[in-house]
């Protein structure tokens, strides 16, 4: 297996431009997500889903402002969320068809030509990332631009990001860079700066896509202590494999049948 690749999203330099959302959609040819004004700061795409693989959250924070009586927003947090590509990926654990698999870059990818839309993966994800697309039925999520990586290219979102808030590279390097960055931010007085998802000791065994946050994870809509939903089911895969056996066998026969018939003619 090649080196483990990942995303480091440094939200302290995110300008909320949403280039990541658009670049992702252009590359991956994802449909639009509807045209709804959400009246939620500048966020009109809501959350990660089958047709939004990068999502920028906007959080307006009010505090007493200088020399005035009125309160006004003095901090506007922006953060581009994405699939975490967990070390222990529950979506993959529960996938009965093998549509979800772990790539040589240690990322987690759904194969659209295999996914049968069973949806087991959807509730399994501790972050609520993966989802089934309406009309299509299959499950979709960020692939970390697996196809681009196979050609030695960085994912579309990381390439487009104007301020390098989204960084792509070998996970170990990113972790080192992130440590330095968080240390510096803290030294500069951002005491709440923290990394999220970088620790191999966390509930998902560490994320392949981790973040530098300037506040509690909940503020950004991230679970504070995510746990792989299949942690207590080490035998899950064998179980799922057995389930798949019967289904696959039936399907295989269905395919083989006509083929043999054709051969007789």
């Amino acid at each position: 297996m090649a080196e483990r690749m990942g995303f480091f999203t440094d939200t302290s330099v995110c300008i909320g431009c949403k280039a990541c959302e658009v670049a992702c959609k252009e590359w991956n040819q994802i449909p639009d997500d509807g045209f709804v004004f959400e009246a939620t700061s500048y966020d009109n795409t809501g959350m990660l889903g089958a047709s939004t693989w990068r999502h920028v959250a906007f959080i307006e924070q009010s505090r007493p402002v200088l020399a005035g009586d009125d309160e006004g927003v003095d901090r506007w947090l922006m953060s581009s969320d994405v699939c975490k590509h967990c070390t222990h990926a529950a979506c993959l654990d529960v996938c009965p068809t093998g549509a979800l698999f772990r790539t040589e870059f240690d990322t987690v990818v759904v194969q659209a030509d295999i996914c049968n839309g069973c949806g087991y993966c959807v509730p399994a994800c501790p972050y609520g990332v993966i989802d089934r697309r309406e009309g299509d039925g299959r499950a979709w999520k960020c692939t970390m631009c697996y196809d681009r990586q196979l050609g030695g290219l960085e994912p579309a979102c990381a390439k487009a990001c104007p301020t390098d808030s989204i960084q792509f590279g070998p996970l170990d390097e990113l972790r080192e860079r992130a440590e330095e960055r968080v240390t510096r931010l803290r030294a500069d007085g951002n005491e709440e700066a923290r990394l999220y998802g970088e620790s191999p000791g966390d509930g998902v065994g560490g994320a392949g896509a981790f973040f530098l946050l300037l506040d509690e994870p909940e503020v950004y809509g991230l679970p504070p202590d995510p746990v792989v939903t299949t942690r207590d089911l080490p035998a899950m895969w064998r179980w799922a494999g057995a389930a798949a056996l019967s289904a696959a066998g039936a399907v295989a026969l269905a395919f083989l049948g006509p083929s043999r018939g054709g051969g007789r003619r």
């Binding site: 431009c17 658009v22 549509a99 698999f101 194969q111 196979l150 390439k159 487009a160």
Partner: protein
């Protein structure tokens, strides 16, 4: 791996036969064949983003007469390969289904569009320019020579190329049309 061919490569079969179901074993043939589609491009044009005036570099990938991808040009010392949401949507700008590709004509007092051949439209426009120019020609204004027409005006230019602006200004000036303006005024 049992046998060869599509059946043998089917992930479920491969998982059942003992390969690691969560990595290589699960790969479909389509997955195995994955490459970035930019590798298949016949040509790559070095271009510039058409939105704001920062002037970010773009690479335009074309395959079989279709734009298959537009992304940042990492060589640009201005943008270093990066693009904003608008720049990132450039492929959609040039390929979206709402783009008009036919000449349309609305006759005076008409209630709908009609089709018109491009050459015919050009001849009709030239006729109107020549006629309006002649009808509204002003040789003098309050006793001074002006040699112009106030009957023809033009708006636009900031989204166009320098060469296009040049031909516009040159032609309009020769025609005596002086009410020539663009977005720089607003």
């Amino acid at each position: 791996m049992p046998g060869r061919g599509w059946l043998a490569r089917w992930p479920v079969i491969r998982q059942l036969t003992g390969e690691d179901g969560r990595s290589d074993a699960a790969r479909s043939a389509r997955t195995d064949a994955l490459r970035p589609r930019t590798e298949e491009a016949g040509t790559v044009a070095r271009s510039i983003c058409p939105y704001c005036a920062v002037g970010c570099g773009q690479l335009v990938y074309v395959k079989d007469g279709e734009v298959t991808q537009i992304e940042g040009d990492p060589d640009s010392p201005i943008s270093r390969g990066r693009l904003c949401p608008k720049g990132s949507a450039s492929k959609q700008l040039v390929t979206h289904p709402g783009r008009q590709t036919q000449v349309l004509y609305r006759r005076p007092y008409g209630t709908g569009w009609e089709r018109l051949d491009l050459d015919t439209a050009m001849e009709m426009i030239a006729d109107r320019v020549a006629r309006t120019r002649r009808e509204t020609w002003e040789e003098t204004h309050e006793g001074r020579v002006v040699r112009r027409t106030l009957g023809i005006a033009s708006l636009g230019g900031a989204t166009l190329d320098d060469e296009e602006n040049y031909l516009m200004k040159k032609l309009y000036t020769a025609l005596g049309a002086i009410q020539v303006e663009n977005q720089a005024r607003i």
